[in-house]
């Protein structure tokens, strides 16, 4: 009874003191970020493949080779101190860093690194292809990835461009996992998978203190981090799904960084002296693709006409302003060999003439697009411009998974959606847009965009295969440029835009990096003053 009375009294007091109870400041040693993090389905590095999960893991785990947030592009030593490749270009040797430890206190060894790669290959979750594309299989991986003392040796099946292999090793799937801790939690020979889905065992700048799905996660600084302990003792990432709400939190100073503001919100906070806005070009490409099993979308004239029926500039200068730039090649800016050619623009007369030449009569099609504001607006604009040339398009909308299901089984006419690169090498996008090893329906290469749209990529496929073997970087760059130009002219893909992430932060926050177009977010360089 007594405590009930106290409760009631405290309640009344709090109501009366409501104003003073609000403290609009984040702790000085804690970085507080508002983001949308409900895409995290697993935090096992062998499985994590969504943006938010990779942001977390990029700070919890280390890889052998890493990217430098202050100069994204060149690779820098991670858990490997140095590395080299054999004459024949097939055997890589990594010398491990001395003195690095996991969060558990266990030393990081070459054995951990070898086991982690073997584990990812054997578990064979979605991102495993980033490793298995080098010829690793569950059967051979124990022989081709080996540890001896402080040296890790990896043998690949072809003399790939070394930068291609190193770039793949910067992906989350190549994270070095604490073998001992993982095996302590192993069940039924799962390499600790069930446990690592919701727990971590890394050596990164932060360890995971708590993860409440769809709510928040808390990272704690690793005082023994080999780069030195990070300045921020904690990182607290909150799931705030509504952008307007993120904006309010930022304006009040209840968070340090807001990552999902809309262009309207960004304009709203631009004049605020307490808030900085940092534009970062990200890797996501928005594109339109035409299913080549559908008449008359497989007519080259129709394809070209439709590429002229997209209002690229109109969209980029109106509702997408600040959030996307026009980009018409499949490699995002920031990647080796990315081209900036923009041969297409809205030209209704030209499109009409092309359709006339094609002689295909009335066209009625469906545009498949997921229920998401940006995409729906793009689809509506596209629908309008198609109508100007007499093409009747109907929007077929659904949840992400629903639309994706149709797309993967070639059930779409036109698909409007996004693609993001998986690692920092141009092969990541070339592999899916410009390579189709088998276009037959039976092949079921459902993960490959060219296959989904039944585009044989006859010219590009051999070139893409050759480009990964080119060890001269300048020559390799030229090859990708050529592949993109061919793809741009002939393929049923119309890349339209590249994403700009507008990160808004309090002006006392320094050093945050969302990862540019090639990587995930870095929390450890952040400071506050």
């Amino acid at each position: 009874m007594m405590s009930l009375t106290r409760l009631a009294l405290a309640g009344c007091a709090a109501l009366a003191l409501g104003a003073t109870a609000v403290q609009a400041e984040t702790p000085a040693d804690t970085l507080v970020i508002a983001d949308k993090i409900d895409d995290i389905v697993s935090i096992d590095p062998a499985e994590s493949f969504e943006f938010s999960g990779n942001d977390m893991l990029n700070n919890v785990y280390d890889t052998l080779v890493e990217l430098d947030p202050s100069n994204l592009g060149p690779l820098v030593p991670g858990l490997a101190e140095s590395w080299s490749v054999s004459e024949d270009g097939k055997t890589y040797t990594f010398k491990m860093r001395d003195g690095a430890t996991f969060h558990s206190g266990n030393p990081v060894t070459a054995e951990d690194a070898a086991w982690s790669l073997q584990r990812a290959v054997k578990l064979n979750k979605t991102p495993a292809f980033i490793l298995t594309q080098f010829g690793f299989t569950p059967e051979n991986v124990d022989e081709v990835v080996t540890a001896d003392g402080d040296t890790l040796t990896i043998t690949v099946d072809k003399p790939y461009a070394p930068s291609f292999f190193y770039s793949a090793l910067t992906a989350v799937v190549a994270s070095v996992v604490d073998k001992q801790v993982a095996l302590e939690h192993e069940a039924d020979g799962d390499f600790g998978y069930e446990w690592l889905k919701t727990n971590t065992a890394g050596s990164g700048a932060y360890s995971l203190r708590a993860w409440k799905p769809n709510e928040n996660y808390v990272l704690e600084a690793n005082d023994n981090y080999w780069r030195g302990a990070p300045t921020m003792k904690r990182v607290f990432v909150r799931h705030v799904p509504e952008p307007a709400t993120q904006r309010l939190l930022l304006e009040r100073g209840d968070i340090d960084i807001a990552r999902k503001l809309t262009p309207v919100d960004i304009e709203g906070v631009r004049g605020n002296p307490d808030i900085n806005i940092n534009d970062e070009l990200r890797g996501r490409i928005m594109y339109v693709a035409l299913n080549q099993t559908r008449e008359p979308l497989n007519n080259p004239k129709v394809v070209e006409a439709i590429k002229h029926l997209i209002d690229y500039d109109g969209m980029a200068n109106s509702f997408l302003k600040g959030n996307y730039v026009v980009h018409q090649a499949f490699l995002p800016q920031g990647f080796l060999g990315a081209i900036d050619d923009k041969p297409y623009s809205l030209d209704v007369e030209k499109a009409k003439a092309l359709l006339e030449e094609a002689g295909v009569g009335d066209i009625e099609i469906k545009i498949f697009v997921r229920n998401d504001q940006d995409r729906l607006e793009m689809a509506q604009s596209f629908q309008n411009t198609l109508a100007q040339a007499g093409i009747k398009a109907e929007l077929r909308t659904g949840t992400g998974k629903e639309v994706l299901g149709e797309y993967r089984s070639r059930n779409h006419d036109i698909y409007l959606g996004a693609w993001g690169p998986d690692y920092s090498d141009p092969h990541t996008n070339a592999d899916t847009f410009a390579k189709n090893p088998d276009n037959s329906p039976e092949a079921q290469l459902t993960g490959v965009l060219a296959w989904r749209n039944a585009y044989p990529a006859a010219a590009e496929t051999p070139m893409t295969n050759a480009a990964v073997l080119e060890r001269d970087t300048e020559k390799r760059r030229a090859m990708y440029e050529e592949i993109q130009r061919i793809h741009q002219a002939n393929s049923p893909f119309a890349p339209m835009f590249q994403l700009i992430e507008q990160v808004a932060s309090r002006n006392n926050v320094d050093g945050f990096n969302a990862g540019g177009s090639i990587h995930s977010a870095f929390y450890w360089p952040v400071t506050k003053n």
Binding site: G18, V22, P27, N214, E215, V218, E242, L249
Partner: protein, 368 residues
């Protein structure tokens, strides 16, 4: 029943006592039969509820496997996961497996969060419970008096004012109302806490210092004696519960008004007035007393609907509640989570039904 009992006691000696115990036995067995019947009907209700949810979930054109493996997966990986999840089995076999597991206390793991559904619900339901309870209190304490005053002043200005206020509450999109509330009372004036259940500072204190007992921040922080966290939590829950409470107030006041009007036209009211009972007594005791029974049903229903969670309010206020959880689960075809959520919502409705039955007996002598 009580008559027969009374008769027995009044004076038929031993035989009557024997008859009395016979009646008690009969009453007991009737109670047992009644309880068994209730339990069986409950079990059937639940089974039916789960079956329908299960079938709807499987008929929806969303592939749960895609939710796990993501965009890049190969066909082989998809088949493997489908096999692991048992999705290749016939629908009824899948359902039977599910029920079997549930009977063994295993609600399975959520695909979206990789955590046991029980854990997820243990986290999201208390957040919803806090919000819904406070909102219902707001609704009742403003709505019932509002309805009574409106009825007494039927057609005059207090009635009009209350009607307009109620109508406003009914027709405003909760999304807009919530954002406006935040903009003014949090953004501009700083009177209340912002979105989320706590400020970042307190959220971390809560995470580090307060043991989780019930999952409800207000209760747990009070139990731990962490009054600054409690105060902060209260400042955060005020606004969303006022917004939600406004809606239930609008509903409750309209219903109270019409119930009251019905009662105020009855003869016993005239009788009471003729007998000289003071007007406040006529209204607040005689009439309202008779309105309580239908009103309890109305309040229980409105409480139950709040306990399902409110997707829009939870979105605006970044409130980790049940509504968003179940909705997200549906969109990812995360059946374990959807079914777990369904069980909770079912339980809520059943317990509120039982509770209002119980309350009937308290307020209505005839039901005793």
């Amino acid at each position: 029943m009580s008559d027969a009992d009374g008769l027995g006691r009044r004076g038929f000696g031993r035989r009557a006592v024997a008859a009395g115990s016979g009646i008690r036995r009969a009453r007991l067995s009737r109670l047992l039969i009644g309880t068994t019947r209730t339990l069986i009907s409950l079990a059937i209700t639940f089974l039916g509820l789960l079956l329908i949810t299960f079938i709807i979930g499987r008929v929806v054109p969303i592939d749960p496997v895609l939710a796990i493996v993501g965009e890049r997966a190969s066909q082989a990986q998809i088949e493997e996961v489908r096999e692991q999840l048992g999705l290749n089995e016939p629908l009824m076999t899948q359902f039977a497996y599910y029920i079997w597991d549930v009977l063994h206390g295993d609600f399975g793991k959520s695909l979206m969060t990789a955590k046991p559904v029980i854990d997820d619900i243990g986290r999201f339901f208390p957040a919803t419970l806090e919000l819904a309870t406070l909102a219902t209190l707001v609704g009742v304490f403003l709505g019932v008096p509002g309805g009574v005053i409106a009825a007494v002043n039927q057609g005059r200005w207090p009635d009009q004012v209350i009607r307009v206020v109620g109508l406003f509450g009914y027709s405003m999109p909760v999304f807009w109302l919530g954002l406006m509330g935040l903009l003014i009372f949090y953004g501009e004036l700083g009177w209340v806490g912002g979105p989320g259940r706590l400020d970042a500072t307190y959220e971390l204190m809560y995470e580090y210092d307060v043991p989780t007992v019930t999952g409800a921040v207000l209760i747990d922080s009070a139990l731990a004696g962490a009054w600054d966290i409690f105060r902060n939590a209260l400042s955060h829950v005020i606004l969303p519960s006022l917004v939600l409470g406004y809606f239930s107030m609008a509903y409750i006041s309209r219903m109270t008004r019409s119930f009251m009007l019905e009662q105020l036209g009855q003869e016993y009211i005239t009788t009471a007035r003729v007998k000289g009972a003071p007007e406040w007594r006529v209204v607040w005791v005689h009439a309202l007393g008779n309105v309580l029974i239908p009103l309890i049903t109305v309040i229980a229903l409105s409480y139950a609907s709040l306990l399902e969670g409110s997707v829009l309010t939870e979105t605006v206020f970044a409130w980790p509640g049940l509504g968003l959880y179940i909705t997200n689960a549906l969109f990812s075809a995360d059946m374990n989570a959807v079914l777990g959520g369904t069980v909770v919502v079912g339980l809520v409705f059943i317990s509120l039904n039982l509770l209002s039955d119980l309350l009937y007996r308290v307020v209505d002598p005839r039901a005793r």
